[in-house]
């Protein structure tokens, strides 16, 4: 498996290497007989669907879990890390998917939290601040004030602080587990700049990402994993994106997006009339017809999430009107939003904290939104409940061992399917999706696109916020681009192009750009 093709990159010596590494969790084999190596001073991307074994790989390398069999080498010498501390001491540092910063401590406190500089046994605040300043300067973030609380920083800056914190441990191997999944395109570029700088300093970098174009932009070498096995390692550029996707999913994929509906949408289901909330939503007016998928685009944080939350009754003090099927509805709570007259559903942003009760069973998670409908008088009807669960599992093709297992045992993609299935059981008329494919494997993404189309065909109106422009272009009948809390442009048909979305998102002469490009040679890619 590890015949490395000759080339400039592969002539570099191995920095970290795994030989015959296997990891079993109970009866489940997460990694099987993996040979893998990462060359000194390179950026190495690890690709694979959820459940391919990427996370286990980096957990082993960073000492979070121990392999069931096999060996690990650092600079040619065998090593074993009984815990993350041992890995850190050896120079292997991992930045995990979820941010690990403490929001109420300052940037400087956070950066030095593992080993603060001391003076007479007390923390030397001045030395700590200087250390933070120099580390932030190293990654080009001199503008971050080390004395600010992390809570007061925007998400993108926090990610930079996270990198600075990792650098404080003086790593020779830096591992990033989907460290860019929460960032917008501009911030991602910035992180990549930093990664290249660090690589040129001689740090080996291992990165995991689901976004193919990001890997193309930054990686020197790529490894593909599937079902716990190492499939191939190659220099970046040696394989086409299609070939890589093939390797990841191991099967042929049809067109990435299902065909759009050609018919117009005469019957208006959802009417949003001058909706405003604090200074985050500014007089948003939009309507969605029966069977229509409307994308919400724009830069991150321009009010798209607030719009969905306002519609779902989560925000207090929203002004304006919302009509469903012609009659005005009150937006007071999610409970009200799912009630008979409204029939709205929201797939929330973060499935782990907003979408699921992770330790609870798949059954409990699936039926939580339809418990009232499944109760007859005082008690829950068990027969009806089991039917509903079977129905949800079948409709979303959720891969489950037993529906009584905790939902946390499922892969990320299947967890998201549970969130969606939970709402399908309420038979919604208006479906709001808040970036539902973030951090999800390619196969599941495509299933979700198909499902959205099918739901639209059944008459639902869908509002779909995504940070991935490709999705908006491929999935939506219209795209409403938001800027600073207001809808600046609504693109339709062939006018939905990346150029137009980006132009509108930046609020630069959006109208003109749309007109020139619409119908031009570079219609939907």
């Amino acid at each position: 498996m590890m015949e490395v093709s000759p080339g400039a990159e592969s002539s570099r010596p191995d920095h970290v290497a795994l030989r015959g590494v296997t990891k079993r969790y109970g009866g489940v084999t997460a990694l099987e007989d993996v040979d893998f190596s990462c060359a000194l001073g390179s950026i190495h991307a690890v690709l694979g669907e959820n459940g391919a074994g990427k996370s286990t790989l980096i957990k082993i390398m960073s000492g979070v879990v121990q392999p069931s069999a096999g060996e690990m080498f650092l600079d040619g010498a065998p090593v074993s890390f009984p815990n993350p501390h041992a890995a850190n001491d050896a120079g292997v540092v991992c930045i995990f998917q979820e941010l690990s910063l403490l929001p109420d401590l300052s940037v400087a406190d956070n950066i030095s939290i593992g080993d603060p500089p001391r003076r007479f046994g007390m923390i030397d605040a001045r030395a700590q601040r200087r250390r933070a300043e120099s580390l932030l300067a190293r990654i080009g973030c001199e503008d971050v004030n080390p004395l600010l609380n992390v809570r007061d920083l925007p998400l993108s800056r926090r990610q930079m602080v996270e990198i600075a914190k990792a650098l404080a441990k003086d790593p020779t191997v830096l591992i990033l587990d989907e460290a860019t999944s929460a960032l917008t395109a501009a911030d991602v570029d910035r992180v990549f700049e930093i990664l290249r700088l660090l690589r040129d300093d001689g740090i080996s970098i291992l990165t995991i990402s689901h976004r193919m174009h990001e890997i193309e932009a930054v990686a020197d070498r790529c490894s593909v994993f599937r079902n716990g096995r190492h499939i191939d390692t190659f220099d970046q550029g040696a394989r086409s994106a299609d070939e890589i996707v093939q390797m990841m999913i191991g099967r042929e994929i049809a067109a990435q997006f299902p065909e759009k509906q050609q018919t117009p949408h005469p019957d208006t289901v959802l009417e949003i009339d001058h909706l405003s909330w604090e200074d985050r939503l500014k007089s948003v007016t939009l309507s969605a017809g029966e069977g229509e998928i409307i994308g919400l685009g724009g830069l991150d944080g321009q009010g798209q999430k607030e719009l969905l939350l306002a519609l779902f009754g989560v925000l207090k003090g929203v002004s304006g009107a919302v009509r469903i099927g012609g009659s005005a509805v009150a937006l007071t709570s999610p409970r009200n939003a799912k009630s008979a007259g409204v029939r709205m559903a929201l797939i929330p942003e973060d499935r782990k904290t907003e979408g699921l009760m992770l330790p609870m069973s798949i059954t409990d998670n699936l039926v939580i939104s339809s418990l009232d409908a499944l109760s007859n008088g005082l008690f829950v009807d068990r027969k009806a409940l089991e039917t509903a669960v079977d129905d949800g599992v079948a409709r979303m093709q959720i891969k489950v061992g037993s529906v009584d297992d905790p939902v946390s045992t499922l892969s990320g993609g299947n967890q998201q399917k549970v969130v969606i299935a939970k709402w399908l059981l309420t038979d919604p008329k208006v479906i709001l999706l808040n970036d539902p494919t973030r951090g999800i494997d390619v196969g599941t993404k495509q299933e979700i696109y198909k499902l959205l189309r099918a739901l639209a065909a059944d008459g639902a109106a869908i509002l779909f916020y995504s940070t991935d422009y490709e999705e908006l272009i491929g999935c939506c009948d219209r795209v409403a681009v938001m800027y600073d809390g207001a809808i600046v442009t609504v693109l339709a048909g062939d006018a939905i192009t990346e150029t137009n979305i980006v132009a509108s998102a930046l609020n630069i002469e959006a109208q003109d750009a749309a007109k020139t490009v619409a119908g031009g040679p570079e219609a939907t890619p």
Partner: protein, 327 residues
């Protein structure tokens, strides 16, 4: 369409599943306590007093008061909250019930508990004040109100006949208090396992935000749980007044820590979301037997407190070690 697989243990929530280690450990501990106590009585008295039905029924009767309080407490702990107002809710219910007397005594006791529970629930669900602080404050308020009510003296009123019968009477040899506890237990098991409210309780205890966004009536469920907890404390108060024929200051003080301990020893997660009522039952029995055996062994009060606290800490250590550190 294929039918989804279900665990055989999951079919019936009354059976023991692999996740019920705390319940097994607590049951084992109950047997150990009985064995040690019996060995002690065999040596000193030459008889196995602890194993006689009379003794066991008597223990269960004493345990009923704690059991009723713990049943209510469990609902609140499952939500990830706590009710520290139990001592004076219990005392207030007892004092009001004896003060009113007659047929209205028991309803008044329950109503006092319900009222305090509603106030607690309102404070936690609507005012969003942490339950630990809010219920502690309510406890102090109730205490002040009761001292004002009695003028600082012991209440002179007596428990009604019905209260006394419920506490010490027997039906076919079974203590009436035990039957009340059993009825409450059946109610709680049905509530937790068979109703939508029960499932919402677990859901809120696991992740309130997710439950809210799923359209669960989170505020209503929180208020319901606190109201039931208050009523359980009120009921325990009226029964306890019947047991000692009168209400007195501080009669609830001995019930707060044991009730929380029983729930937690029974495997309910102190931060909510996980736990089975069977565990709480066994937790109550464990605490009652431990107290009883220690008093049979004529352990001085100081030693009893040390052993009592030590056992609780020990059991929590045993549970904690079973859980994965990284997650």
């Amino acid at each position: 369409m294929t039918d989804a697989v279900r665990n055989s243990a999951g079919e019936s929530r009354f059976g023991l599943g692999p996740e019920d280690k705390p319940i097994l450990v607590a049951s084992g501990f109950v047997l150990v306590i009985l064995a040690i106590g019996t060995a002690y009585t065999l040596v000193t008295q030459g008889s196995a007093t602890l194993l006689s039905p009379t003794y066991l029924l008597q223990q269960l009767q004493v345990g009923a008061f704690l059991g009723i309080v713990a049943a209510g407490m469990m609902l609140v702990i499952l939500l990830g909250h706590i009710d520290l107002s139990v001592p004076w809710t219990l005392a207030a219910a007892a004092m009001m019930a004896t003060a009113v007397g007659g047929g209205a005594a028991i309803p008044v006791g329950l109503a006092v508990g319900l009222l305090v529970g509603l106030v607690n629930g309102f404070g936690v669900a609507y005012l969003r004040i942490p339950s630990m602080i809010f219920t502690l404050g309510v406890n102090a308020v109730m205490r002040g109100l009761m001292v004002a009510h009695t003028g600082g003296f012991a209440p002179q009123t007596a428990a009604t006949d019905l209260m006394q019968w419920l506490a010490v009477g027997k039906v076919l040899g079974v203590p009436a208090a035990l039957l009340v506890w059993a009825a409450i237990s059946v109610g709680v098991v049905l509530l937790l396992n068979r109703t939508a409210t029960g499932r919402y309780i677990y859901a809120i205890g696991n992740k309130e935000a997710a439950a809210y966004l799923a359209g669960a009536p989170t505020r209503r469920v929180i208020i319901t749980a606190f109201a039931l907890c208050g009523m359980a404390a009120g009921l325990a108060g009226t029964l306890l007044a019947g047991y000692s024929t009168k209400a007195y200051q501080g009669m609830g003080d001995a019930y707060l820590l044991p009730a929380i301990a029983a729930v937690v020893i029974g495997g309910t997660h102190i931060l909510g979301g996980k736990g089975r009522y069977l565990g709480t039952l066994i937790g109550v029995i464990l605490i009652v037997l431990l107290n009883s055996v220690l008093s049979i062994m004529q352990m001085p009060e100081a030693g009893r407190q040390v052993i009592y606290g030590g056992v609780i800490i020990l059991m929590l250590l045993v549970y904690g070690r079973g859980q994965k550190v990284t997650q």
